[in-house]
Each structure stands twice: as C-alpha cells, then as structure tokens.
C-alpha cells in the first residue's frame, strides 16, 4: 500500500509491503526494514497498537488527514499530503466531485477569476484532503454546494465560464 505524507523536507511517499518499506522523496528511494509485526491490538482511545516482534509497541491514532504516532516514548504526527486533482483534460464547464466527500474549503465566489491549476475547493474524502483545481483559466458562474455539505460522486459543485485565450 502507498501513502504520502507532508514533512519539513517536502512530501514523501511511503510504499508498504509487510515490514519492508520504500520511501520516495522524489529524488531518491530509501529502503527500510522494520521489525516484523507480531500483532495488531485494539486499544482505546486510540485507533490501535502494533506490537513488533522485538517487543516494542507503536500506538497510533488517525484524526481526519493526520496520523499521530507514539513509539519508544516519542510522539509525532504527519499530515497526509493533500491530493491535487486537476481535471487537466476536462473541457466541461462543471467541476464535478471525483468521489463522495465533504467540502471543507471553498475558494470560489461568483465572478471570481481562477488561473488553470489554482485551487477552487478542498474536498475531504476517506480522511484525505483533495484540492480540486481549475482545469483551465475561468471565472465562477455558479456555486451549487457550500462548505460543510456532503457531495456524491460526479455531482456538480461549481459551474465555470471558460476564458478564451
């Protein structure tokens, strides 16, 4: 499985295959071998605890797009890198929800101008934040859903007017 986290050194992808991991910072790939997992234990009020074969325990809690971890007496957290969804080849005047989710930020205002690639809204889905970007240079014609609303897959959220180059 693959995950992507924000770090002070930029976004880093983590590819997990049992206890063998690969980290990719976009420049290099680092291979890491952790101790094999002996058991995964349920533990309130956390998401759970991983017991490694050497006896060390990793306690973790997922809160929206952030994961908190506790290991060897140290605590840290990572935010999952928000995915950037630019509907690059889209020519449709509608911004449709690529997945079911909740609108947690809305930058669109009627008449506001967006360059291609600028973030129009952020959709939270599966505890991930997804930045939905303008597919082309445009102005906002209509806003169909507001912050806090839940939208279904393929539901139109914003309607755009394309600006001709």
């Amino acid at each position: 499985m693959n995950h992507r986290f924000e770090t002070p050194e930029g976004a880093i992808s983590v590819f997990v295959s049992e206890n063998f991991l690969k980290l990719n910072d976009g420049r290099r790939v680092y291979k890491i071998k952790l101790e094999p997992v002996e058991a995964v234990i349920e533990r309130e009020p956390f998401s759970g605890e991983i017991l490694f074969e050497d006896g060390n325990r990793l306690t973790y809690l997922q809160v929206r797009s952030e994961i908190f971890l506790h290991f060897l007496g140290e605590t840290w957290s990572f935010r999952r890198k928000e995915r950037e969804i630019a509907l690059a080849h889209s020519t449709s005047p509608e911004i449709k929800s690529p997945m079911p989710g909740k609108i947690i930020q809305m930058h669109a205002e009627i008449g506001r101008h967006f360059e291609a690639g600028e973030t129009i809204l952020i959709l939270e889905a599966m505890k991930m934040e997804n930045a939905i970007k303008a597919p082309f240079s445009c102005t906002i014609r209509e806003i169909l859903h507001q912050v806090g609303e839940i939208v279904q897959q393929d539901e139109a959220i914003v309607i755009l007017d394309k600006i001709k180059a």
């Binding site: 499985m1 693959n2 995950h3 992507r4 986290f5 770090t7 050194e9 880093i12 992808s13 983590v14 590819f15 997990v16 206890n19 991991l21 980290l23 680092y30 890491i32 952790l34 997992v37 995964v40 009020p45 956390f46 998401s47 759970g48 991983i50 990793l58 306690t59 973790y60 809690l61 997922q62 809160v63 994961i67 908190f68 971890l69 506790h70 290991f71 060897l72 007496g73 140290e74 605590t75 840290w76 957290s77 990572f78 999952r80 995915r83 599966m126 505890k127 991930m128």
Partner: protein, 482 residues
Amino acid sequence: MSSIKKILIANRGEIAVRVIRTAKRLGIKSVAVYSDADRDSLYVRLADEAIYIGSSEPKQSYLNQNAILNAISETGSDAVHPGYGFLSENAEFAEKLIQKGIKFLGPKPASIRAMGDKIGSRLLVAKYQVPVVPGYEGEDQSMERFMIEAKKIGFPIMAKASAGGGGKGMRRIESIEELEANILSAKRESISSFGDDRILLEKYITNPRHVEFQIFGDTHGNVIHLHERDCSLQRRHQKVVEESPAPNFPSELKKKMADAAVQAAKAVSYEGAGTVEFILGESGEFYFLEMNTRLQVEHPVTEMTTGLDLVELQIRVAEGQRVPEIPVQHGHAIEVRVYAEDPSNQFLPSIGKIHALSFPEGDHIRVDSGVVSGSEISIYYDPMIAKIIVWSEQRESAIDKMIQVLEETIVFGPITNISFLRALVDTEGYRLGNVSTHFIASHEPSLNEKKVNLHTRLALAGIASSITKDSDPWIVSEESNQ
C-alpha cells in the same frame, strides 16, 4: 469552630479536580465555577454544583471577585478554596469572604499582605533571624561606599540596575579589583536603558539550588513544617521537576533551614498551608527568597512522602483543629509538569484539541490532571496537561519509575514536553543530584535530541496507515502507472 459543609473552588483545571476529590472523600459538597472555555471541563462535571461566572478571559471570570461572591451566595457555600494563581494570594478577596462569614482556605489577609511585598517580607523575616541574601540598596552611590559594602557582602557579587530587568545593567563581579570598572559600566548601561543609573549590590550565589519547606500553621499559634522540596530544575523561573526529599541534603543543614522556615511563618502568625522558599548555595549557605501563601502546584510530592492530604489539613485547620505532629518523611517522590508546549521551538504553548490521552496506572503513580481525551488546551490559561508524581523507597528507583511512566504516557494532539522531561530526569547530573537552577539551560540542546529519525517515523506512519485500511487507491494507481 463549625465544620465546613460546602466548598466553592475559585479555580479551574487540575487543582479544582484535586480539591473536589478530597471534598468528596470527606463528605463535603463541592461547587465549581467556570468560564465559557471551561463549560465542558472535567472539574465542572465532577463537582456537585457548577456556576457559570463569565467569559474566558480570566479578568471576566476567575479574577472577577463579584461573580465569584455571587456564586458563593447563590450556592450557600460556607468555604472557598482558592487553589493556586488567580485569587489565591489576593488579600482583598480573602477579606471580603471573612466579612461575609465565609471561610477562606488560606492564611489571614494580613499574612498575605506581609508576604506579598517581596522587599518588605525580606526585611520582616530578617528581624526574626531568617537569613536573607546579603546586599546593598542604598541612596549613597559613591564608589567608596560600594567598596565598603562589597567587602561586607563578600565576592562574587552581582551589581544590578535598581530600575532594571531583562539582564540590562547587570554585572557579575569576582573581586574588589574588578569592582569599580564593572559598576561604572553597569551604570552607563543602566542610564541608557532605564534613564536611571542607581545600582544595587547582591551576593552572587554560584550554582544555586531552590529548596523550599512546606509549612502549616493553625489558629492556636502552632506552626510546623512538612519537610522540604527541591525544585532546582527550572526553566525561566518556572519549576519543571520537583522532588522530596532534596538530594545531597545533610540533616544538619535541613534542620537549620526548617527552623528558619518555621520562624519566617511565625513572623506573620501564619495559618494554613504555605511554602517558604530558599536559595541554597554550594557551601550550604541559604537565604530566604519568599513565602507563598497558598497551596503549591508541587504539594503532591509532600503528600506522597508524608501520607498526609494537604487539602484535608487546610480544611481541618480552617475548622479550628490543631496541626499534627511533624510527620515522618518516607521514601522519595518526584513530580514533573507535563505541558502542551514545544521544547524544540522555544517552549511555545501548543494549543488545540487533545485527541487522545493515556497515562499508565500502577502503585505509587499519581496523575493530577484536569483534562481528558477530547479536552481543549485553550489560549486563555496555563497550558499544563498534568502533573505526574511517582513514589519509591529510594531516589534512584523513583527516577527509573518516572522514566518508565513518561515513556508510557501518550498525548495525541498538542505538542508536549514529555520526551524532554524524560531526557531531563535521565541525565547523569540529575541522577547524581547535582542540580542547580542553571541545570536545564546548560543541558538544553541535548535534551531535545530525538531517538527516532525522520525515515523511521515515516516508515512507522506508513505501516500504521496500512493497518487503518484508509489506504488510497488513487495513489496506488498513480504509482503503478509509472
């Protein structure tokens, strides 16, 4: 005197929880007061009654005497526990309570006033043969006079701007030969910083320790001490680790300091719980710093080593009972203050929601906390999450126990000082008891070293994320396309 039936706690957080716990055990009703920010706080839920007293800014609520006085009459409370901070050392508030026939669980207003004046209190206790830091703070600013006074005080000496602060106009002077040049330079700096070139001299104490005595007085004129606490591990005058007994503390020295502490309390006919703080020098010289006329944050280490409940003792003394015999000091107790602050970023407070919180449980582990999973650390109050106190027969085993407890303490949400505390109590210097108020500052960089590096942190985040099954098919497909 009559017995207390209902206590209003004019405070919040962990100390309110701690007072309510004793009240419940004694069958006394408890009343909490709360601000907007504390509406859902643990202590509000634990109290028998809770009264809203105002908005989150302390001035509008916990320092608002009228709102608290109204809450007292509304609930028919017959006593007030002020906790620490807020109104705990406010003589005017104590006076208003007494006028209304409400018992204030603290000393007489006159004692609060006498000890609240930091210069006046030193002059006062000095009359009772309690040693105070030798110094000179006179109108005569001639160099001849400074020479005479400096010889009387003894070197090293600190010259400070009378109007000073922030280290400006301060000079450490090692010998008589250095005196004149340093005083002149301190005067120049002082006049340019404060527009005032008056200088005072004070004995400089090398590697000072902070040792304090818990004092208890009753309404019959008896004053006892409940032994000492060493609070030398401080950061910018904030205590970080406290313990009892003090390490490397000869019994003859302890006896002298205990006598001085009782004497200082008697100087103000002290009633109730108080703490006499001393600065202790390398060669066993000690000086009165101040007396705090309230229950201190670090009182649990005294409770763990004497078996007494100091809040109960405050209640009994207010009811007119006599203080007990001096208790035997047994074993060793250490307290650390867990804060929502970032040690790697100048200890700035780290506010926000505590998503999950867990402390280990066991014999001789005590956690005094006012928060639970889901609580909010707000900008309005001290960002303390908990006090962790451990007890063991010996100091060494108490340190080991504290390290284990800190390693198993988990706070997810705000950044905390937990691993900093763990590194601190595990230093060789602390284990040897070679403590001073400069200890933390001189060890700080090494106390922030991390054991788990970024790559391991990421790998562990990856493995935990894979198990939470909140994986992301979108990224997987992106990778497989490459």
